[in-house]
């Protein structure tokens, strides 16, 4: 009986290996198969002792070859490991890593989103003579071992909303959060809320979550992973992957396939390799803090030893996060230090007791540490062509602004206000006295005048007939825009796409793209316009001062052939990255603008764009300027930069969160197609988002939705008015009125710390 079990186990292991390595020919696998077959044919004739002995040998062989195979794993094999139904799941972790837990926020299929699992769990242990109970909030995607209703760990927006809700609960209860990322990516549905909208909200809230947060990544698919992984300590399972996009998705984009077409498996494997998605790669780039070693060929449900390792690591990580902000740490941090540990023997975190309660000051500190941690990431993934001297000057300049702002807005303004208030009081007094004293005199005067109609002053009369002063021209000077699109120079007619339904007549291109600013005069359909149009027609003339222009997009992963493509984009657009940051004025109000420019590789965000954005936010914060993110268009995160791009989601969001918390005004304006990562993070988190009528806003484009969910979406699925009804954006603007509306927004929205408030 026992033997049968062991045989079955070996058979399972073999079929698992076959699953992982796919169709690849491998001598080791063949050998295992041959040995197992041989054993099965010979077993009948053997005595029990022989059988056992052979079995043990066979098992040793399996172990040996598994280790050997482990070393041969390609990134694509790792992808297959994390997707295998035998892979350990969050439920298994809850059972085996924690001592007691209660699932909250739904049970099995009876949940608002069964793919997001929340549990209140306890870690109970004995340290010395004390028994300590430490509660944590466990959040993570549950793939279930093949359970259909789990949707493969692909979380819907309301699942992420649920996660956020319980993070807030943990914050209230002041207990640490452990999150486990087991997701191929978020479910790209636009509902109430939309996928991007909810992830952005999650990121924004997590940026200021005042409890220790440790996350573990097994399968980290882009936005879905970020939604619960913005943490103080990011661990990664050694056989997991963490990537900007699934290798299949990347390959589909690379091959430019149309819907329904299949991509060659070789290309998928190549993409998986080039995207640097493995734990080791991510550790090297610094996007995870530590890698937890798994058993050969990845941890499966029955690897009980691994749960112990995981538990140990989780306790240790939580302890470390807490100790870095705790006032009274004494020797305990030393006890956890790897350097002091005896060689070859890992520190047993179970033996170290660190209280997981944090004072409110420590909690502030924790958030600040988290900001710093993310701020430092991805610093080598972009090209900075500034000289050393320029860099130093840049540093000082930032400091100078901060000091200047402090004096002007904190120090001086306080006194100014006091004086002003006093002045007002005095004026009111004088007015009162004058009114009282003058009343009888006026009464007498009125009597003499005797109800004569009010006379009109000469001055008022001339105002009726003389030319008055008027210097309002806006972006339109003498009926002409400052900048005219090159499209307005062709003599051709353009048919509005709504012509059939709205009866629009054909428009003459010079009218449409010139005076009408690309808006159909009959139905108001917005044709897309170049980013230069906004640059020159929205902002005050000659007020644009670009900064950080020397930060350039590069090819941090050494992605094959990408250097040429970036160089080509630079040549074609004359830009250095897809993000243009500049200071400008509208109606004489200073503001900092970060513009995502669609012609540069689709306006995708990579390390350079993220860094420029973060610096623009910091500049706006230091100078107390409002900040406008002008999204001319963005296709998402630049996949060829891999996790260097993904990490910009939390990085930029944190910068924005800090800016908003400091009382700034963060305004986002979408213009054309705005999709994926950026919308699901630093753009989508703004409380003031608007769109030009030409915008499409969403998480994934129609093609990707069809590909991943199999659902056909209606053509207006991503249109601006849908985003408006989902509450993602706050308003839709006519392009010709962008300037007017931005001015209005600058005057009426945002925090109290702006320089002109």
């Amino acid at each position: 009986m026992e033997l049968d079990n062991r045989i079955r186990k070996l058979q399972d292991r073999l079929s698992y290996i076959r699953d992982i390595f796919g169709d690849k020919e491998n001598a080791n696998i063949a050998l295992l198969q041959a040995r197992l077959d041989e054993f099965l044919t010979q077993e009948r004739g053997m005595s029990l002792a022989d059988q056992m002995r052979h079995m043990a040998q066979l098992e040793d062989l399996f172990l040996f070859l598994e280790k050997k195979l482990d070393a041969q794993l390609t990134p694509m094999d790792r992808v297959r490991i994390v997707r295998h139904p035998a892979r350990l799941c969050l439920k298994d972790i809850l059972e085996n890593v924690y001592d007691n837990y209660t699932e909250i926020g739904g049970q099995d299929e009876y949940s608002i989103d069964p793919s997001m699992l929340i549990a209140r769990a306890y870690i109970t242990r004995r340290v010395g003579k004390r028994v300590i109970n430490q509660p944590v909030m466990v959040i993570g995607q549950e793939k279930g071992h093949g359970q259909e209703f789990r949707n493969g760990g692909s979380v819907k927006p309301w699942g992420n909303a649920k996660a956020l809700h319980y993070m807030k609960v943990a914050e209230t209860e002041n207990i640490p959060i452990h999150s486990y990322v087991f997701t191929p990516g978020s479910y790209p549905i636009e509902d109430y809320p939309g996928a991007a909208q909810q992830i952005a909200k999650n990121l924004f809230e997590m940026a200021s979550l005042r409890v220790p947060f440790v996350s573990v990544i097994s399968e980290g698919g882009s936005g879905g992973a970020e939604a619960i992984a913005l943490s103080d300590m990011r661990l990664m399972l050694s056989h997991g992957y963490y990537s900007v996009i699934s290798p299949e998705g990347a390959a589909a984009i690379e091959a430019k396939t149309r819907q329904g077409e299949r991509v060659a498996p070789e290309l998928i494997a190549k993409c998986a390799r080039q995207l640097k998605i493995t734990a080791a790669d991510n550790l090297a780039m610094g996007y995870v803090d530590k890698v937890i070693d798994e058993p050969p060929l990845g941890a499966r449900v029955d690897h009980y030893d691994f749960y112990k390792t995981l538990r140990n690591e989780m306790i240790k990580a939580t302890n470390q996060v807490i100790l870095q902000v705790k006032g009274m740490k004494l020797f305990r941090s030393l006890a956890l230090s790897e350097r002091l540990a005896r060689k070859g023997q890992a520190v047993d975190a179970e033996e170290v007791f660190v209280s997981w309660n944090l004072s409110s000051k420590a909690r502030e500190n924790l958030v600040w540490k988290r900001h710093q941690k993310f701020r430092r990431l991805a610093q080598t993934a972009y090209m900075d062509t500034r000289t050393f001297g320029e860099k130093v000057v840049g540093r000082f300049q930032g400091l100078a602004w901060a000091m200047n702002s402090y004096f002007r807005y904190e120090f001086l303004r306080k006194h100014q206000r006091k004086i002003k208030r006093l002045q007002e009081e005095l004026e009111a007094e004088v007015h009162l006295v004058r009114n009282k004293v003058g009343k009888p005199i006026r009464a007498v005067m009125d009597k003499f005048a005797g109800g004569r109609p009010q006379t009109v002053s000469e001055e008022a009369k001339t105002s009726l007939t003389q030319l008055s002063k008027w210097d309002d021209k806006g972006g339109l000077s003498n009926g002409k825009w400052v900048y005219t699109s090159p499209k307005a120079k062709e003599d051709r007619t353009v048919t509005c796409p709504n012509a059939e339904t709205h009866g629009c007549l054909d428009l003459w291109a010079p009218d449409l793209f010139g005076e009408y600013a690309g808006v159909c005069g009959y139905c108001g359909h917005h044709f897309t316009m170049e980013y230069q149009w906004y640059l020159h027609n929205v902002f005050d003339q000659g007020s644009i001062f670009e900064f950080n222009g020397q930060i350039e997009s590069g090819n941090p992963l050494g992605y094959e052939g990408f250097d040429e493509r970036v160089a080509e984009a630079k040549k074609k657009t004359g830009l250095k990255s897809a993000c243009m940051t500049f200071e400008s004025r509208i109606e004489n109000l200073n503001l900092v603008v970060a513009m995502l420019v669609a012609p540069f590789r689709g306006g995708t965000v990579g390390a350079a764009e993220g860094e420029k954005f973060v610096r623009a936010v910091e500049r706006a914060r230091r100078k107390h300027y409002p900040l406008l993110a002008y999204v001319h268009g963005t296709a998402g995160i630049r996949i060829q930069e891999g996790t260097n791009g993904v990490i910009q989601m939390p990085r930029c969001t944190m910068a924005v969160q800090r800016y908003i918390a400091d009382g700034g005004l963060y305004l986002v304006l979408y213009d054309t197609n705005s999709y994926a990562g950026p919308v699901a993070s630093f753009l989508g988190c703004s409380p003031y988002q608007f769109s030009i009528r030409s915008a499409n806003i969403g998480f994934a484009g129609p093609g990707v939705i069809k590909e991943t969910t199999g659902v056909d979406i209606p053509p207006d699925y991503h249109q601006a008015h849908q985003a408006l009804s989902r509450g993602h954006i706050q308003g839709i603007w006519d392009r010709r009125e962008a300037r007017k509306n931005i001015t209005q927004a600058l005057l009426t929205m945002g925090g109290r710390n702006l320089y002109y408030r």
């Binding site: 109609p453 007939t465 003389q466 010079p510």
Partner: protein
């Protein structure tokens, strides 16, 4: 002038006929267009008679610029005359005509001029800059409540001063249009609440809270000055004034008289001769400033006290240009065909005469004969005209696209204007008598689908003839 020029007549009805005639006088080719509904209109017949089948094209709409351009290209037209209405004052169309890859000559003021004078605020500011009187009121959007109140107060005072019976201040959302965002205020007491309501409405509706503070004058005479400029816009002559005070309830002109007043024969409460001279001088001042380079009409309001105010400039040939031509002579030759002069100048010819060569003689009245019911708020009548005839006279010219020898169905798509009758006389008494004589001789009968007989404004016109030019 090269005979190679071919004019696309982008209009219908009597103006199309007049343009075709002007082209024929100048020896130019022409192309007429018509819609399906207008198939039997007189202008199509006229074009076919004088230009053959090749001179007539069918379009789906007179409003479709693309189709007109296609017709111009297909027919080899080199110039385009918009007539009045449709594209006549559309600067975008005018711009497209001259800026396209195959440019055409635009017979009308250049697009820059149309744009400049098409914007009423701009015209008002231009006039004020040149010291030309305009209707008292704001010449820019007002954003400040105190300022708005002050303006309104002065306007009420002005109206009291002029002795108007009804006082009315108009508030208009400056970004509005098409009758949206206009409020009337009769008393200062209600001004503030109305102003705020309109301002908030404008802010919501047009994202701009600017309000224009203007007034409505009820008791006034409507005068016009006819101006012609050469292609370069540096030589201008005027062809006298017109009085268009007799209008329907919807403020549509019904009877026009040239000249604007008759100071020799009637007495006015002010110096009418000086008013006429003034408005001509003011109009020319603006024309010179903007370099006006075609025919145009400056519209004036004259109050009972004799104060003229510029209302607007119509940058096109007008319906009533015939009466100005009728009383004018160039080098003692008359009448003057203003459309011919316009086409001639547009093609680059010099005027060839100065103001001193233009003389005026007698009076002229134009009647607009329209199938409508003056007793019922001038409601249009639509049906079939069976008989349409009048007595020909040497002092009379009738411009019509309605055939006189066969029944004609009035198309419902356009305004039911049937004919223009221009009567000429040497003095007021004669021209009035001839006008009445013409109207009496006019036979106009028809029936609509319901069997009702035709309704026209002939009686209304006759009644109004009695006291024309009196004020």
């Amino acid at each position: 002038m090269s005979a190679a020029h071919k004019v696309l007549v982008a209009n219908r009805g009597e103006i199309a006929i007049r343009i075709i005639n002007a082209c024929r006088k100048l020896g130019l080719g022409f192309v007429a267009v018509h819609t399906r509904e207008d198939m039997h209109s007189g202008h199509v017949r006229h074009a076919r008679t004088h230009g053959g089948d090749g001179a007539v094209y069918r379009v789906s709409s007179y409003h479709d610029a693309n189709e007109l351009m296609a017709v111009a290209d297909a027919s080899g037209a080199t110039a385009i005359h918009p007539g009045y209405g449709f594209f006549a004052e559309d600067f975008r169309f005018a711009r497209r005509v001259v800026k396209r890859d195959r440019p055409l000559i635009w017979i009308g003021p250049s697009w820059g001029v149309i744009r400049e004078l098409g914007d009423k605020i701009n015209t008002k500011r231009l006039a004020r800059r040149l010291g030309v009187p305009t209707v008292p009121g704001s010449d820019r959007p007002i954003y400040d409540e105190m300022e708005a109140e002050e303006l309104a107060q002065s306007l009420f005072a002005f109206q009291a001063d002029q002795g108007f019976e009804r006082h009315l201040v108009l508030l208009k959302a400056s970004a509005g249009g098409g009758g949206m965002g206009i409020e009337e205020v009769e008393r200062m007491d209600t001004f503030r609440s109305t102003y705020r309501r309109l301002r908030n409405y404008a802010k919501r509706q047009f994202q701009d809270s600017g309000v224009l503070i203007e007034q409505r004058i009820f008791d006034f005479n409507h005068l016009e000055v006819q101006i012609l400029g050469n292609r370069r816009g540096d030589a201008h002559v005027h062809f006298g004034t017109r009085n268009c005070t007799i209008q329907s309830t919807g403020r549509q002109k019904r009877v026009e008289v040239a000249p604007g007043f008759a100071p020799g024969e009637l007495t006015y409460g002010f110096d009418a001769g000086k008013v006429l001279d003034d408005i001509v001088e003011y109009s020319l001042r603006i024309a010179k400033e903007v370099g006006y380079n075609s025919v145009g009409t400056w519209e004036w309001i004259v109050t009972p006290k004799g104060d003229p105010f510029l209302m607007e400039v119509n940058t096109r040939i007008q319906v009533e240009n015939g009466i100005s031509g009728a009383i004018s002579k160039i080098n003692d030759e008359g009448p003057v065909d203003l459309i011919k002069e316009q086409v001639r100048c547009a093609l680059g010819e010099e005027l060839g005469y100065s103001q001193d060569d233009v003389s005026f003689d007698g009076l002229s009245i134009e009647y607009r004969i329209i199938a409508e019911d003056p007793s019922n708020r001038f409601t249009p009548w639509v049906g079939r005209i069976d008989r349409f005839a009048w007595e020909e006279q040497p002092w009379l010219s009738v411009l019509t696209h309605v055939p006189t020898d066969e029944p004609y169905d009035i198309p419902t798509e356009f305004d039911p204007n049937l004919a223009l009758a221009i009567v000429k006389g040497k003095d007021l008494a004669e021209v009035k008598a001839r006008g009445v004589a013409f109207l009496d001789s006019l036979v106009l009968a028809g029936e609509d689908r319901a069997g009702q007989s035709l309704k026209s404004n002939v009686a209304f016109l006759r009644e109004k003839t009695a006291n024309i030019l009196e004020f």
